[in-house]
């Protein structure tokens, strides 16, 4: 049957009402300055002429009719690619509070989000609002019987953790006596800035992070380290004394590694560690993808690739992607490159096989740690389905691994690091401490740092999440100077310092009532409670209600 042409709608047509965010524009207050349209990262705002009838009723006259007024209004683009992402930038810049996005729970756009046959992708992390499992854990072994709780404000606390292979004490003493090599160990702050590559992040963002990290270390005495993600590291950083605060990541694309290797002779210090990425929680099994519009001149140089081409990291690489083999090859090669003075460890996605990977590492004398990234982790560009539904939550995965190490009497030897949704709802210290008491030696956080230090707008209700498109409204994840100049590195650095200072205070507020101050309460699961019977049983912690 022939469709009716007069109705201008096709199967993919959407109205603003079908989108997750609807723009509310108040033309009474709008002065048509155009700032909103200029700032909108997705070009969803269109100024368009609209016509309005002005009915005129003059009782004394025989004249009847209306006049018409033409005015400039704002239309919202309903094309899926240019839909409003709710970032709220328009509201932020509007001088007259005339515009803002409104969240629409009944959105239908996701049925249409497959234009040109492409499965939906986005940046950000799992869209799952509500308290996470980690948020539900409480600390309830409060000291008050034989010992009063400590004073978080006045006691001295040691909050640092170890990154690096820890020998069994007997073996350590034997090697001390014979003068043999002992594995490198770093003492670091247990909250680590997780791997976000110099490519995913804008130059201003990583400069701000680096400055902030240096300030934390050198002025505040908080030994924060940050991981680079795959994508290399600017040569001046490699040759600077700041390198010791940086965990260099190598992954299947080997991006930036020739620069790193070339810089070795000129390095003033060793990097904090080398992280070999086998997988990440938000897209387990997938390689990374840096889209062409983020491959700027600088990024191209850092990574040793031509400008403006898509940079997919292969999920599988002959030299990397069999754990057993690479435990032997990569870890040893990397250790050797840095003279066995730098901890080298793999990062894997949380999965049912994490325990086997761990046991493989336990048997490798050069493996320094294991980093497990759970499903709630974030990413620069991934398919929605990977981010929302593929992977393993971190809590039970980490716990299983830790208990497995305990059973072998090796829980001190391979430190476990956990990531994936730490601080997802803003409770970063609580989430991190819960993981630490479940057995982690430390936690990585990425998105939380973007949110707290740079004001990233994303949330778990599909807000913003345009990190992969190079149009980040805040300039955090864009390589376009017009956009990233919005971000002031000094302010980012200041926020990094503020964030870590408050994490430190909160850690003390968690530890003091438990009566802990001398060492990080790693594995202190007797202090944890949760009001969910099944989770309590699974995590082997107390059920409280």
């Amino acid at each position: 049957m022939v469709p009716i042409r007069s109705v201008t709608s096709d199967p993919g047509s959407l109205s603003p009402n079908d989108l997750p965010w609807i723009i509310e524009h108040n033309e009474d207050r709008c002065t048509l300055c155009g700032k909103c349209a200029a700032v909108c990262p997705v070009n969803t705002l269109k100024l368009s002429y609209m016509r309005k009838r002005m009915p005129k009723i003059v009782l004394s006259s025989s004249e009847r009719g209306s006049s018409y007024k033409t005015f400039v209004g704002i239309r919202q683009n309903t094309d899926v690619g240019q839909r409003c992402i709710g970032c709220g930038s328009c509201a932020m810049v509007c001088p007259n509070a005339a515009i803002h996005p409104i969240h629409n729970k009944t959105d239908r756009y996701r049925f249409q989000n497959t234009k040109k046959g492409e499965a939906p992708t986005r940046g950000g992390r799992r869209n799952e609002p509500g308290p996470s499992l980690l948020d539900q854990i409480s600390f309830n072994r409060i000291s008050m019987l034989t010992d009063p709780a400590l004073d978080a404000g006045r006691h001295e606390f040691s909050l640092n953790t170890l990154l690096g292979r820890v020998l069994p004490p007997e073996e350590f003493i034997r090697r001390q006596t014979t003068g043999e090599w002992t594995p490198p160990i770093r003492e670091i702050f247990p909250f680590i800035i997780g791997s976000m590559s110099f490519g995913a992040l804008s130059p201003n963002m990583w400069l701000g992070l680096l400055q902030g990290v240096a300030y934390c270390n050198e002025v505040l005495g908080i030994p924060v380290v940050m991981a680079t993600g795959e994508g290399g590291c600017p040569p001046w950083v490699l040759k600077s004394p700041f390198l010791k605060y940086i965990i260099l990541q190598i992954a299947s694309g080997y991006f930036g590694w020739d620069e790193i290797i070339r810089a070795i002779p000129e390095m003033q210090c060793d990097p904090a560690a080398i992280e070999i990425k086998y997988g990440q929680g938000a897209k387990p099994g997938d390689g990374g993808l840096l889209m062409w519009y983020k491959v700027s001149k600088l990024i191209a140089r850092l990574r040793g690739v031509p400008e403006g081409v898509d940079l997919p990291s292969p999920p599988v690489h002959q030299t990397l992607y069999s754990i057993e083999e690479s435990v032997m090859k990569m870890i040893q090669t990397m250790s050797m490159a840095f003279n066995f003075k730098v901890p080298v460890y793999p990062k894997i996605s949380g999965s049912n096989s994490a325990k086997s990977v761990l046991n493989n590492l336990v048997r490798n004398p050069y493996a320094s740690a294991l980093m497990i990234d759970g499903i709630d982790g974030g990413t620069g560009a991934a398919y929605n389905i990977s981010m929302d539904a593929t992977g393993h939550p971190i809590a039970s995965n980490l716990r299983e691994c830790y208990l497995d190490l305990c059973a072998q009497g090796k829980q001190n030897e391979i430190p476990l690091f956990a990531a994936g949704g730490v601080g997802k709802n803003g409770n970063v210290t609580q989430n991190g401490m819960a993981l630490i008491m479940l057995g982690a030696s430390g936690v990585h956080m990425g998105k939380y740092i973007m949110q707290s230090a740079a004001g990233c707008l994303g949330n778990e209700q599909n807000r913003c999440n345009a990190c992969n498109l190079g149009i980040c409204p805040k300039g955090i994840t864009s390589q376009n100077p017009k956009i990233y100049r919005r971000l002031d590195p000094d302010r980012v650095a200041e926020r990094v310092a503020e964030t870590f200072m408050s994490i430190k205070t909160e850690m003390k507020k968690v530890m003091a009532p438990l009566g802990r101050s001398q060492s990080l309460p790693i594995g202190m699961s007797d202090a944890l409670g949760i009001g969910n019977k099944d989770a309590a049983e699974r995590l082997n912690i107390r059920y409280v209600c």
Binding site: T146, H155, P169, C406, Q411, L514, S517, Q518, P521, G523
Partner: protein
């Protein structure tokens, strides 16, 4: 908070004197338990010869005692040389079901004579672990506190003096050169005979006041060591004894390193320490053993060395005082007063967080060793 008292003297003395000292500190406990350890023992009606192991414990039923006899005599081939008969009057204390408190001197099986010292010590530990498990398998009808040469242990639930009277400890028939006592049960876990301090493993014993909040991770770590003696843990304080055992017997480090393991120095202090590098490495590999209470730990070693260490927070009181040949350590000054009244009080010492007090076996003078000092053995260099 528990109260602790230890006295060490060249001339053996009655345990009752330590119980009296406990009485002076009675405000600190609630009568929920007493633990006593006697080392360097002397029996009035038996001349004890040191290498013979002494088994101490309680049998709650006749059947349990028979099982014990059967195991010790028939299965293992020990010979019973002497049994100390306590004059028991249970009306003084709450417990009614104690069939027999035993303190028995055994002679080791003949074929053990060919064993090395280590093997004998291992076998003694395994024997007591077996008996303890046997008791647990039969509804806790048998409690074993120690099985070791020259050591007698008594644990009971009630006020210390009442326990002393119930067992007639004032009759002068049993004396010792080192006696340690602790009043009060552990407060965080169930009330149970085994949970009274001191804790004992292969001749090494400690008792503690305060709460060890790092108990669970330490316990899990020790249990992972694959050493059969690291078990039990009805009290959070038992790990202190086992860490001391681990440092001295497994790692074979000098006694002074105990302090470095349980309360390591911070980085700045280590940087200035003559063995800073080694100690930093030791801190890293033994990180799990860092205690996190406010605790005072009092202990004795097989050679009658006595020690006292504080945790890093130094929020628990403990005092040491005495004179050549006679020293006392107690959680309160009045305890020391009661134990060695005729000493020079101006020489009493309250250790700070960096100190380890060592009373060597000759008991001539105190060694106040600071964690900032060089370690005594070249091995640690």
């Amino acid at each position: 908070m528990c109260r602790l008292a230890l006295k060490t003297a060249t001339t053996p003395f009655s345990p009752y004197c330590v119980l009296q000292a406990m009485e002076t500190m009675q405000e600190g406990y609630d009568g929920s338990g007493l633990g006593l350890l006697l080392r360097g023992v002397e029996f009035k009606d038996f001349s004890y010869r040191s290498p013979d192991p002494i088994l101490s414990g309680v049998a709650h039923t006749e059947e349990a005692l028979n099982r014990l006899d059967q195991y010790m005599l028939q299965k293992k081939g020990f010979t019973k040389k002497y049994e100390h008969e306590f004059q028991v009057d249970l009306s003084e204390i709450a417990a009614t079901d104690r069939y027999k408190y035993f303190t028995r001197v055994y002679q080791i099986p003949r074929h053990w004579n060919a064993y090395s010292k280590e093997l004998i010590e291992h076998e003694l530990m395994m024997t007591s672990l077996h008996l303890r498990k046997d008791g647990a398998d039969h509804g806790e009808d048998l409690s074993i506190f120690s099985f070791w040469p020259d050591v007698v242990m008594i644990k009971e639930i009630d006020w210390p003096l009442a326990v002393g009277r119930a067992l007639s400890l004032d009759d002068g028939r049993i004396k010792a050169r080192v006696i340690m006592a602790q009043g009060r049960q552990n407060t965080n876990y169930g009330v149970n005979l085994h949970a009274c301090h001191p804790f004992f493993l292969q001749g090494i014993a400690t008792m503690t006041n305060g709460e060890n909040t790092a108990f669970l991770p330490i316990k899990e770590w020790l249990e992972g060591r694959d050493f059969p003696g690291y078990t039990g843990y009805q009290s959070d304080s038992e790990v202190f004894a086992h860490i001391l055992h681990y440092v001295i017997r497994q790692l074979k480090l000098p006694l002074q390193t105990y302090k470095h393991v349980i309360t390591p120095l911070n980085n700045k202090e280590l940087a200035a320490h003559p063995q800073g590098e080694f100690l930093r490495g030791l801190r890293d590999v033994c990180r799990r053993l860092i205690i996190d209470g406010p605790n005072a730990v009092i202990g004795t070693l097989p050679d009658e060395t006595c020690l006292l260490v504080m945790d890093a927070k130094k929020m628990r009181p403990a005092t040491v005082g005495g004179k050549p040949g006679e020293w006392a350590i107690a959680s309160e000054m009045c305890g020391v007063d009661a134990l060695v009244p005729d000493r020079d009080r101006s020489k009493d010492f309250q250790p700070m967080r960096e100190h380890t007090i060592i009373i060597p076996p000759d008991r001539q003078e105190l060694e106040i060793w600071s964690q900032f000092d060089q370690l005594p053995q070249t091995q640690a260099a």
